[in-house]
Symmetry: C2
Subunit: 326 residues, 2 copies
């Protein structure tokens, strides 16, 4: 049993930053399930708002520090953590590599996919190749040779292979724009522009690899790569396609998949983030409560996917709020 002697399930949110909603949802879910336990948040900065919504918080070194994994283990031991939740791309390879050690030394479960899965997801060129080789829709991805020989049709999309939040992502409308952005963007991937309906799909896979929930959301408005307005759309074809994608990629825990549904009705996948995305609270509030699945897994319960009820067509809007911390 993973429950501690007093039955408490303490959850650790890593790189908590601005994940205020996620912290609040873990606390709400814990209360709704009548479980005891703390939601503990860590960050490198005392200015991370999510720290102030957690039950307890700690400041930890940067992910790039050689002490990072030790500090996570130390926080897990100090607070009797049963579940470890990463939230940002840069910590995924570190945690995937350290998963066994953290779990062995602390008894906590780490919500992280295999190093192989994380490696594919954290590099957009590897992701595109994976989608293509496994028969999933993907925007046409150009090789350097094709680009050098001008074997392409404009417009094209140029972005960093390891980028996030739409930073340094540019649409090239002309040859000179393309040439400029290829040298301006570090380590770029160049793809055809997809113009269909933009979707994020939240999914949860338990640690036996069984799919619990798949929730496609239309991205009605986006700012800096983050969703501002979204609508749940339980489209059967997308769900079925994503189910196949998950079976090929084999991620675990909460993941978010980005893509476009093109005019032909088929999905073109852009990337998979094997972690909670910023908009995940929309799917959670609509009924696919990954926080609940994680608590249940920590209690060694098996979740029955047939009992998951999602409010199709629910619309969510996001906005800023502020908190005084000093």
């Amino acid at each position: 049993m993973n429950k501690s002697a007093d039955g408490a399930i303490n959850v650790l949110i890593l790189s908590a930053g601005r994940r205020v909603e996620l912290v609040k949802l873990f606390k709400e879910t814990r209360d709704a399930l009548k479980i005891s336990g703390d939601v503990v948040a860590v960050d490198i900065s005392k200015l991370a708002p999510a720290l102030y919504f957690a039950d307890k918080y700690e400041i930890v070194p940067r992910i790039t520090s050689p002490d990072y994994v030790d500090s996570v283990i130390s926080v897990c031991k100090k607070h009797g953590i049963k579940l470890v939740i990463p939230t940002i791309d840069t910590e995924l390879p570190v945690l995937a590599a350290a998963k066994n050690r953290i779990e062995k030394e602390t008894g906590a479960i780490v919500n992280i996919s295999s190093p192989e899965c994380v490696d594919i997801c954290n590099d957009k060129t590897k992701s595109a190749l994976f989608f293509k080789e496994n028969g999933f829709g993907v925007p046409y991805t150009y090789t350097d040779v094709e680009l050098d020989e001008k074997k392409y049709s404009l417009p094209l999309f140029v972005k960093p292979r390891d980028g996030s939040s739409s930073i340094d992502a540019f649409k090239a409308e002309t040859v000179s724009q393309l040439e400029f952005f290829r040298s301006y963007v570090k380590n770029p991937i160049v793809q055809e522009c997809v113009e269909g309906t933009e979707y994020t799909v939240d999914a949860f896979i338990d640690f036996d690899g069984d799919i619990v929930s798949i929730v496609p959301r239309i991205r009605l408005a986006v700012r800096g790569g983050e969703i501002l307005k979204g609508q749940i759309d339980m489209n059967k074809e997308i769900i079925s396609d994503v189910e196949k994608l998950i079976k090929a990629l084999k991620p675990v825990g909460h993941i978010t998949i980005q893509g476009f549904k093109e005019k032909d009705g088929k999905m073109r996948y852009i990337e998979v983030n094997p972690r909670f995305g910023g908009g995940a609270p929309m799917s959670i509030r609509a009924g696919a409560n990954s926080c609940e699945w994680l608590y249940r897994i920590a209690m060694q319960e098996k979740i029955n996917p047939e009992q998951v009820k999602v409010d199709d067509k629910a619309v969510f809007v996001r906005f800023d709020d502020s908190l005084r911390i000093e």
Copy 2:
């Protein structure tokens, strides 16, 4: 008297969008002052989150529509509005031009500066010229001739003259980057890069032109031009400099001023937004409550600046929240 027969002061927030905090602060201030009245929000879209935090809302045409001012007047009449609050740059010239008509036809006060002031603020080239001609610090602003003749030192900053939210704002580190961004950015302004401490200054000027409050805030972290983390810094030199700037520019109501304090201790001004900025709630919550000043003006009270108490060094952090609307 501007109070209606029943004494209610109804406030209209235009282009409410994501200004949830502003709507909430007007409601909180109204309650704290024990005034009656509604906070009414309007937007072009039913997906604007702020609508759902207002007491009442209406959907209006786009600002570019010939019916926009008529629709504002119509909403003012329908809801007995006493105060009209714009929130986005594109509506400022329209409202500045229509201020007299709206006030005459509805009896409401419009929180808007003169067309001349708005014209200077909405064009970064005109703003830079204004700062320079009036003896205020400003990043060196290059003419096309200087740029064509390569009479500059890199890096330089290229952005649209009428831009906002850091969209299409680029740092050019090389000659080829500069040449590219000069053609890529529509209607660009090219300035030296300033590297000091980034400040936003919130100020409130009553409709007689008297300054009520000046609150400098350090921008500790920024995303997409919007502040994420800020600290109040009641720096006397900045306050005194901004006081002179306000006396030269003659804006009214709530304004936000952006600039950098350079190593020499002097301010270099980037722009003035003669409206509530996204981070204005930080200064309001720290004690410079522009919502209160506006209610008092609507009640024909004069505000005594000496009674304004601001919590120096207060730190605020911003985060996303979401709301289900359908």
